[in-house]
């Protein structure tokens, strides 16, 4: 036998001055500020002892930006064009209070927000649906495959650990990359992976986790911008379903704490603190151990186990091991009751892990349960059935103190009530509205510009990627990412049938980072607006929508970047309040900037709004592809001429155009009318105006190849390419035209018709093009790169 090895050590902090405390934080990679370290010192002065390394690690991850979202909680002195205002916490003011106000009016619909792993809304009398979206940016920059793989694995686990265990039913993925044709010499840093390599790795990572878990990946988006070369963004989201009675969960004193699933290893050490700092060239060498290794089958087994245990009533409380591993999962569970854990019980991938490594490791595929002692034998049997491991890790004891033992040594003894109190930050931010040019017009012929736009990376079909995702598994993908008569035309969102329920769930998302560069407030408005619009087009009731907000930004210490974020959240909050669409969950990711040879490069402030909607009747789901010849084409809403944020402006090199206005009142009335038109069966298909403008919307509808299109209304070139929020092209059955027009009045204009005479896109006096060749250009834009 080898002599017993010390698995932890005490660290002297009580005698250190401020500089030494800061050094200690740096040496141990704790990512704690000087002020934080002073608080830590106070705690141990009061406790009259030195901390262990395990305790410092626990506090560091608990207080990390990744886990605690301290910037979203900070008190911000904000300045907009010279006018000062105070934001008493972005999260509190622009997210939580928005939802709380809506909640009062919709108590039967919103069943949970912000507290659990995911927010819940009611699907029907018995079932709730939930959605969670996470980012995995830093790991995906360093190891694209593994980073994206565990990004999806992690968010699926959030759903498995939501309530007493929700069933994952669909996933979404949103990526922001540098352009796949970026020249190598344009990458101004060593060891940064080429965007094409990142894209391929990330897609395959998502593919291999989602496909193996048997969860259809049904929604997504990709944005390309040079600012994402150094910091790609990877958002992964998963939706789940749960019986409403299983949403509430509670840890009781006396509950046993059980770890289920994968084993604990050295992978994923310091993930939470690593994600709370910016990447550097050194990151590519030093931080590889912070990236976890995924094994979807381990998670599939744990998922099967959890769902059956839930149905048998064996689970008191459950959560997943994400950032911070056991420390944050068990810390959350025992934060009220307190309790004891025994690290030697944790099954390890390899021997020789010291205490903090076991407690903080972010090894994947692990769930932690609190259960009644009498259920332990049945849980053990169930674990054997599904070939997963369930081990007793400790118990909850009502002491309010978290005690962690390792081979008989007490390595952590922390007062839970003090653990979650990080010092509040104060920050400054400002935003100055840029000067816009009002007489922006587009050069060249409509046809040439249209070819450019249709073949732009922002617009071209995502088919090569979508085909690699099993978007049909579970057999419930009712509106698929690609539809129409040939199964390859784009849709505005997805619709998922939920087994055992009549209502269905729609999923949609929006991100407009180009807008935020000059008009962040409007970006906030427009993202919410677009997501709401797409959910309604998919057939959802505009009164029963739920949203998620996910933010990524560069350097929050830069006042202008933070100001851009503040403005974005203001816009987003206003739109959500107006539409009465609550935020039920969200996440933020900071420090997405990189020190290149030419100086720091930050990602643009990027807001992803994703959402769920409830569809009562499947007849309301019509899709975005033309259905027949002989139907009327309507535009609802008025196309504006502002080109800001549009693909046409970007390919034309225009940077000083104003973004279009987002008229919330007019748009909401329109969406309610559209919902009513869908219910009454007036609508054959509908597609909203987004990337590429009105002309692209019409072409994409025609890519079902069921009919030719003739547009006889007049549109200026600017109107054809502007991306005005709220505008929707609707195919109306010829017999329904009068009723449809009556419903919308002046807000709807018949702009043309579908025809069997040809398979062309004809726009009077501007365009006459063969649909087959247009589709070819659109469909194969990504093929050479993927």
């Amino acid at each position: 036998m080898s002599p017993p090895k010390q698995t932890y050590r005490h660290i002297e902090v009580r005698s250190l001055d401020g500089d030494a405390l800061e050094h200690l934080s740096c040496d141990m990679k704790l990512s704690l500020s000087r002020e934080d370290m002073v608080e830590v010192q106070k705690y141990f002065n009061d406790a009259d002892r030195e901390p262990t390394d395990v305790e410092l690690e626990v506090i560091a991850q608990t207080w990390s930006e990744h886990c605690k979202h301290r910037i979203f909680g900070a008190l911000i002195q904000h300045e907009l064009d010279g006018a000062k205002e105070t934001v008493d916490g972005i999260f509190k003011t622009h997210i939580k209070e928005v939802t709380e106000a809506i909640w009062k009016d919709k108590p039967d619909f919103i069943l949970g927000a912000f507290v659990d792993n995911a927010g819940f809304v009611r699907l029907d009398d018995n079932v709730a649906v939930c959605l969670k979206v996470e980012t995995h940016n830093h790991p995906s920059a360093i190891e694209p495959y593994a980073g994206a793989n565990t990004g999806l694995g992690g968010v699926i686990r959030d759903i498995i650990g939501a309530g007493k265990g929700a069933k994952p039913v669909a996933s979404l993925d949103v990526f922001c990359f540098g352009s796949p044709d970026t020249k190598s010499e344009d990458i101004k840093a060593d060891d940064v992976l080429h965007p094409l390599g990142i894209m391929r790795g990330v897609v395959r990572g998502v593919r291999d986790y989602g496909n193996r878990m048997g969860i259809p990946t049904v929604s997504g988006a990709i944005q390309f911008d040079p600012a994402y070369i150094y910091n790609p963004l990877v958002f992964c989201g998963t939706a789940g379903t749960i019986p409403i009675g299983d949403i509430e969960k509670e840890v009781l004193s006396g509950h046993k704490i059980v770890a289920v699933g994968g084993r604990t290893g050295k992978d994923g050490l310091h993930g939470a603190t690593f994600s709370s700092a910016s990447l550097t060239t050194d990151s590519h060498e030093e931080d590889q151990q912070a990236v976890q290794i995924g094994n979807p089958i381990e998670e599939k087994k744990a998922c099967d186990f959890v769902l059956e245990a839930r149905d048998r009533g064996l689970i008191g409380f459950i959560t997943d091991c994400g950032a911070g591993g056991f420390s944050s999962a068990a810390g959350e569970m025992l934060s009220v009751t307190g309790g004891e854990l025994y690290l030697e019980n944790a099954p390890l991938k390899e021997p020789g892990l010291v205490s903090w490594e076991i407690f903080l490791s972010e090894s994947q595929e692990r769930m932690v349960l609190a259960v009644d002692e009498k259920h332990l034998p049945e849980l053990q049997e169930l674990a054997e059935t599904y070939e997963t491991e369930a081990v007793l890790l400790g118990h909850a004891d009502g002491s309010g103190i978290l005690k962690v033992w390792h081979d008989g040594e007490l390595v952590v003894e922390l007062d839970c009530s003090k653990l979650h109190e990080a010092p509040r930050q104060t920050r400054n931010s400002k935003w100055t509205t840029p000067t816009f040019r009002d007489d922006v017009s587009l050069e060249g012929s409509t046809g040439d510009l249209f070819h450019k736009v249709l073949g732009d990376f922002a617009v071209v079909s995502r088919e090569p990627i979508i085909r690699e995702y099993d978007h049909e598994v579970q057999g419930n993908t009712f509106l698929k990412p690609l539809g129409g008569a040939t199964g390859d035309a784009p849709q505005d969102g997805s619709v998922i049938h939920i087994d055992g329920s009549k209502p269905m769930m729609s999923m949609a998302l929006s991100l407009l980072p180009e807008w935020g560069k000059t008009a962040p407030y409007e970006m906030g408005l427009a993202c919410v607006d677009e997501c709401v619009r797409q959910l309604v087009i998919c057939g959802a009731d505009p009164k029963r929508l739920a949203l998620l907000d996910n933010f990524c930004m560069g350097n929050p210490d830069d006042e202008t970047e933070l100001g851009c974020l503040v403005e974005t959240t203001k816009g987003m909050a206003e739109a959500a309040t107006f539409y009465q669409a609550p935020f039920v969950s969200g996440k933020d990711s900071f420090y997405n900037y990189f020190e290149t040879e030419d100086g720091p490069v930050s990602v643009p402030v990027t807001l992803l709004i994703s959402g769920l909607g409830i569809i009562d009747d499947r007849k309301q789901v019509v899709g975005s592809s033309l259905r027949h010849d002989g139907s009327a084409l309507f535009l609802i809403g008025k196309m504006s001429t502002e080109l800001g944020g549009s693909v046409a402006a970007r390919v034309s090199g225009i940077t000083d155009a104003r973004v279009p206005k987002c008229d919330l009142a007019a748009n909401l009335a329109r969406y309610e009318n559209l919902y009513s038109a869908l219910q009454k069966g007036h609508v054959a298909s509908a597609h909203d105006v987004s990337e590429g403008g009105l002309i692209t919307t019409i072409a994409e509808m025609a890519f079902s190849m069921k009919a030719g299109v003739e547009i006889d209304a007049f549109f200026s070139k600017e109107q054809l390419f502007a991306e005005t929020p709220g505008c929707i092209v609707v195919e109306v059955e010829s017999t329904e035209v009068d009723d449809f027009q009556a419903l919308f009045g002046d807000d709807a204009q018949q702009i043309g018709k579908t025809t069997s005479a040809h398979k062309k896109l004809v726009i009077a006096d501007q365009i006459e093009e063969d649909l087959t060749s247009l589709k070819e250009r659109w469909q194969h834009g990504l093929t050479p790169y993927y």
Partner: protein, 239 residues
């Protein structure tokens, strides 16, 4: 008939299409029971008319698709499946289940290997029924459509001529209407010489209801085409 026939679905770690496959079986009239491989016994097959291996990634398919599932079946059940088959039982393998049946030797010799594209592919494909004597296919028309979703679906035989023989001998029950993965003779599904085992890469359980089709206007039949596959075997075992 008074009692519903029994279908037994074997579930491995990584099997992920068992729920919708059970749903499809119930929809046409089967009693469907899913049993994890750790709990299945020889007795489970005693009153079973149809054994089903559904889609997924058994044990992750990290080594070779279906290799671990094959070993686990042999370890836990010995030659139970062969005996079940010899005694007149029917077996259906879909996607990963097809791969497992191939490895177990319950279908004509061959392998399902990486698609020529070396990519996973999820799409709807045209299919052609090549036999008239399959108890799984008799209510289907000669041409129909189902979705595929696989990375290792390319059927190859030791000699290319073997695949031609399978076509001639009525063992190649289904072919793709286009080249989707490089399968010899575009074979999508095989049956055994006794005509009681069918393995196929496409997913009939994903097209039970008409509205599961990607085209909102699809109305070629009353049900989705997959329904008719399950209905055929239901009619066979209840005849």
């Amino acid at each position: 008939m008074a009692t519903r026939p029994n279908a037994l679905l074997l579930k491995f770690p990584g099997t992920n299409a068992d729920e919708e496959t059970a749903r499809a079986l119930r929809e046409v009239g089967f009693e469907a029971r899913t049993v994890p491989i750790t709990r299945v016994t020889v007795e489970d097959f005693a009153d079973t008319q149809l054994g089903v291996l559904s889609g997924g990634f058994s044990y992750g398919d990290y080594v070779m698709a279906a290799r671990f599932a094959e070993l686990e079946i042999e370890r836990r059940l010995g030659d139970t499946l062969t005996t079940f088959h010899d005694n007149g039982g029917h077996l259906l393998g879909i996607c990963n289940g097809f791969q497992i049946l191939m490895r177990l030797g319950l279908l004509p010799a061959g392998s399902l290997i990486d698609n020529v594209s070396e990519r996973f592919v999820c799409k709807w494909v045209p299919l052609e029924k090549k036999v008239t004597d399959s108890p799984f296919l008799h209510t289907l028309p000669e041409g129909f459509e189902l979705p595929i979703a696989h990375g290792e679906g390319r059927l190859v035989t030791k000699e290319p001529a073997d695949a031609e023989t399978y076509m001639k001998d009525g063992l190649a029950a289904l072919t793709y209407g286009e080249d989707v993965n490089g399968s010899y003779q575009q074979i999508a599904g095989l049956q055994d010489t006794q005509r009681r085992v069918l393995g196929l890469m496409p997913h009939p359980e994903r097209f039970i209801y008409r509205e599961q089709h990607y085209d909102r206007d699809w109305q070629q039949a009353e049900h989705g085409w997959g329904y008719y596959l399950f209905q055929s075997i239901y009619q066979t075992v209840t005849a």
